[in-house]
Symmetry: D3
Subunit: 286 residues, 6 copies
């Protein structure tokens, strides 16, 4: 996608069917992506899977977006994948099983790619979770960079109960977040995990007392992120993503190679200078 | 092992030297495997290492077994590997060190394979741990899918204290369950970990107040697992096992390929139908 | 480095510019490495990066060192990398960017190698952390085997705030210690982590009430390690390090091959014999 | 890209700036992609890198395309990357080196992705090479499935001579095709490799006597591929691509999982039936 | 399989349905495994897949077997997998596709495991190939250690032509033997490869003028292998197998660890002594 | 090693016990490293293993060395490892097998590291091989970047014949150079490979008619390498080395990150300028 900044902003303004996207305060370079089908408890439908990566690609282009928040309208974050959309996928072309299987495989890869767009996005994405976060909702937040929730939120890897093997990333990402033992327990039993237990096992970083407090706290956190040196923030995310699947030694070589080209930035100079001058540093946009 | 279901059941009935294997309630498709040498605090002897994989292969064949529990007779779960059996292994053929080393290596690989049989088994295995779980006992439960214990249980990676480098899987599996820092601490110090600390670091998922409560709770948990769609359960376990050692992206491709062939099962239809009809779903056996 | 034991000891006695190295009690085979620039809050300077690996290589040679403690003089453990040393690195040879980048890459690899020396050292290294542990300090302790701190200690992956992508190992090692979610949170936000939270997420194994209690407790812990069978201790550390980046199955084969040659040690015999004779075992030096 | 077959065909008809794409014979499901800037010896310009993946995605959708040929107009296959386009990439935003480096990295990843589209395409791609195939041309053909050339063709990994480290795939793919020793030799020396030597080291599968013979032979080969069972062909390509970077054991599990869902196709039945009935099998389109 | 040497020999004598196994000369520790269904051109049937691993495990136990030859009765080595056996696999349990797919996956894994037994066998296996070696025959020989053929032999990865994705190892092992380019060409086109071309691409090490010459030459080669130090031979095979899927650095550590326990063998002493005494060395059995 | 250029040159001048190191023509930035124990057919002794890495580190520092040649005095390149040195390694500390094994492992790792220094060296190393290249000699040249030999040269992976598992890199590097099948054949049989066969299987890139022609040809080749842009040459070697053990996709990301920092060099500008001005480019030193 090779749009100019203006074209990207215009595209964003056209609106989305399953998402609401907005910058709450034009002076603050933080953008919010809301799952916006509260009547369906934000069940993930097929249009969502094409709108999310498009939205992220656009926001990646826009300098006024330096931190992103993935949130949801209504009392619940997400009730999982929309089973009717699943039906349309799995029932297609029944006349030859093998061809149908091949097509199904490609469709699943496409859905996965929509979720992985959260990791590909250069800017940090904070998930703000209220109420239920179930099935596909867990796949979704597992691909965000920082997860926070309110006190009544709960999580459940529910796929097994409807006869599914979760295939949007939970089985791959959760073990690295909460440990293999906890992840296997959650995936086999589908049991509810409260906000408190989620915090204890590392699934969320922070629990807020209620949704209102969370809105406030998340905005503050995102603002803080948005004020940090953009290149260093983006580099940190990218290097951690790449190092996740590498031997430690290879990850070390990777970050050395990264910094070889990107260390001597103005941001370092500005940070050091600001410290000496005892003022707030002022970082350019990405 | 290509036995019919009947042959497998008959084999199971012949009994085991170090294990007791039983289905507590013929109406409930849950089977129990008990370590059954309480006088030796269930120390792992050589026969155990051939009986465990055989038992698991048989139970894997039997449709009436849809969830397994690994438990132990007596006050302690397991005091570790039987040092006398170790002696018989390490002292063999002393006349040529290199040949002896080669034979020793093969024997260790065989012992490891017996433990790994817990992961190869398609059905979920829940460990129920009371009293001491030491040395080889930790290797054993680290290969189970879900670990629970009672309040007085404790764990110790004790090998280093008898001059051994633990070689049955603890050093490989523990870091992925409790994190690398905790695992290194436990493996170097051999210190006792209480039930509470075990829960906090993710080594167990649940702590029951006492052994009796644990028996009850574990049976309930296993029953619940046994009532879930068998194919989805098995697929979830298999995909998590395979994804554990893969890059996230490769794990995503793997599960897409898995579901391409195995998503459109009757289980999904039954699960969705049951939901609509507001009744309990009824899943076929594996 | 192929020194005799005597030469190594003599080298150690010559002293270090940024470190203080001492054996507190000649009867106890525990050595302490102190970061020794308290006036600079133990900021990591260029000489430190050549002194640390040299010290570790020497201590690795000396039989009277069976456990090591990495500690710090003054109220704070470490305030991170010395920005002036960073400057000398990054500003060199400005006339050709690409050549400068290549040189910078090699220098970073050298700095990393100094930290990794903690993992290469065959003997266990315990980190004792008081006060602030910031930026490069986190890189440093993440490469130690066991981490303990006192109640007022705190941690912060601060690099992003000065425009840097942390390149000394935190981004690679932290996710394996505290989970990927916690690690990403800490690395992006740079927020302070208290001793209590550090314990809860597995960053430290033990929290002591105050620095004095920590000194005492750490010495006791190190003494305990030093009394264990040296070969088994060293083998456990080495096997865990190698297995960290391997598939479980490959790690199992590796430890089987390791033990094939190194299992039948006198240590095992002594440990078993001591147990039978109900006396304390007596292990030889490494 | 979620176009219908008709939309894809219409898109293809709109034409390309750097490519010519055509189906020579409407009765034969083989499509040709010609590099079409003979006056510039088919140097790879920026538009090429967006047109190639687009063309491949469209052809992937069209059932009448069952095998693809990558070929070139004019006496030479490809003289490498267009240095002027390189200039526009590398000189952008000179005011901050680090930001420029980050942008450059993303641009290179985009260029690479255009080449990798050849591997992502489900259908087999045969490269037909005449004259010079230099620099970026080698990157290009290294990502094709089968490589053939005419007798006067020659290859050179020329990047090093213009001060570049080849970054479009040659350094990664060539060692797996011709062995690490041959690949290092070619990449360091930039020397010319004749058609004969290319055949001997496995860089091409077939050498034709002259361009005309090659046209004929390639068309016959592509026709033959196009007549094979489409699902099996696609599955073979996909499994080989995935297995390339996996341990043998993981690759075996992957293909077992693939075939679990896709083995029982009508193609197998048709192939066996045709054999029994001694007639040519008739396979459906992909 | 924990048989004594005598039990293993007795088992071998009971005979096999699809194999003929014999030691041609009791004084020469070389055993031959013949594919023995010449009337079916040695098509691989289901019994073969359980007999081959059993035979190899028995021969692995027998000291009089120090080198193995895999050969075939009749004019052709192997015409591939027996399609009727494939039918019995793929048509089972048609009533639920997903369950059938899961069962099929396990069956394929079993078939693969039978082939991989050639690699697991500690002793070297030489393949002697005459006439046609097609489909499953290529999977089979790709898992042998050394491949030789006679002048009229030819090879074809034929699976694609009957609508199959080869799933017994060819797609994984062939690229490492003949390079990725050659392997992709053979797998997509299914074309015949002559003995000469097979030699040129590294698929076979030696081509003999005719089957009789091959019998002679192979026996000589196997005798030579059988006379070499058994531990070193076995170690070399094992280390190469393990290193195949490891980074070079990890493979180096692995072999260092291997030799740490197995280097100081009597074989080295005998080899050096024999050299000094200018006599043939005399190595003990494995 | 942090020497200035002058110190490095002075060190080089002090001379070596097992090597002769010289710059044949002060005007040509090519240096030769000769194995210099012709009376022992250049058997690799313990001093060699410390001198080689030291020499390479020094030459890496010296701008007048832009290409290196590894060659040998006398009629034979190398007869393998010196068995007497091996003896001193393996017989040390016989009183405790496990401790001896641990020490042996470290010593082997040290020897390996000396060979790997050839890969770590940033500058290209060309091996020029005459006469016999046996055992350790093959390990040595397998770590060079380009291998050439004269017509009478031959190669043999001879370790197995003296009861050894080759542990200096041949078993890891050879399969990637000549393919897994050829490498297994050579390693199990220890058979002689002539110059012609070595060329055919990719073990050497060029065969010269006799040693004199080789001297001439190698000097010309090294001169040519020395005239190329140094940064691009070094980058190409480093990227190929790193990519060897990475998935293709990770290797692509690595080289993109490399070039992000190191693409915009003066060398590219000079190369393009020289082309336009039709003169020979003039590249700065490394």
């Amino acid at each position: 996608m090779d749009l100019t900044v203006e074209e990207a902003a215009a595209e964003l303004n056209k609106g989305f069917q399953t998402l609401e996207i907005l910058q709450k305060d034009p002076a603050v370079p933080v953008w919010f992506i809301y799952l916006n089908r509260p009547a369906q408890r934000n069940a993930l439908s097929l249009p969502f899977f094409s709108e999310l990566p498009r939205a992220l690609a656009l926001l990646d282009r826009i300098p006024s977006a330096r931190a992103l928040v993935l949130s949801a309208r209504g009392p619940h974050f997400c009730s999982g994948i929309d089973l009717s959309s699943l039906k349309s996928i799995s029932s297609s072309s029944d006349d030859d099983r093998a061809a149908a299987a091949e097509e199904l495989r490609r469709r699943i890869l496409d859905l996965q790619s929509a979720i992985t767009a959260l990791e590909r996005c250069r800017k940090p994405v904070v998930a703000a979770i209220q109420g239920a976060c179930i099935g596909g909702g867990v796949d979704l937040v597992a691909a965000c960079d920082i997860r926070c929730c309110e006190d009544k939120a709960y999580f459940a890897v529910k796929e097994v109960d409807v006869g599914l093997v979760a295939d949007l990333g939970t089985l791959q990402r959760l073990p690295k977040i909460v440990g293999f033992g906890n992840a296997m327990d959650l995936a086999l039993t589908g049991r509810k995990v409260s906000a408190g237990e989620a915090k204890a096992m590392g699934l969320v970083s922070r629990v807020f007392a209620d949704p209102a407090k969370m809105d406030e706290g998340i905005f503050a956190l995102a603002k803080e992120l948005a004020a940090k040196p953009a290149l260093a923030l983006m580099g940190t995310k990218a290097v951690m993503m790449k190092s996740r699947d590498m031997a430690v030694e290879k990850g070390l070589d990777y970050v050395a190679t990264w910094n070889a080209g990107m260390l001597r930035s103005r941001e370092l100079e500005e940070a050091v200078l600001a410290k000496l001058q005892k003022r707030k540093p002022n970082f350019s946009k990405m």
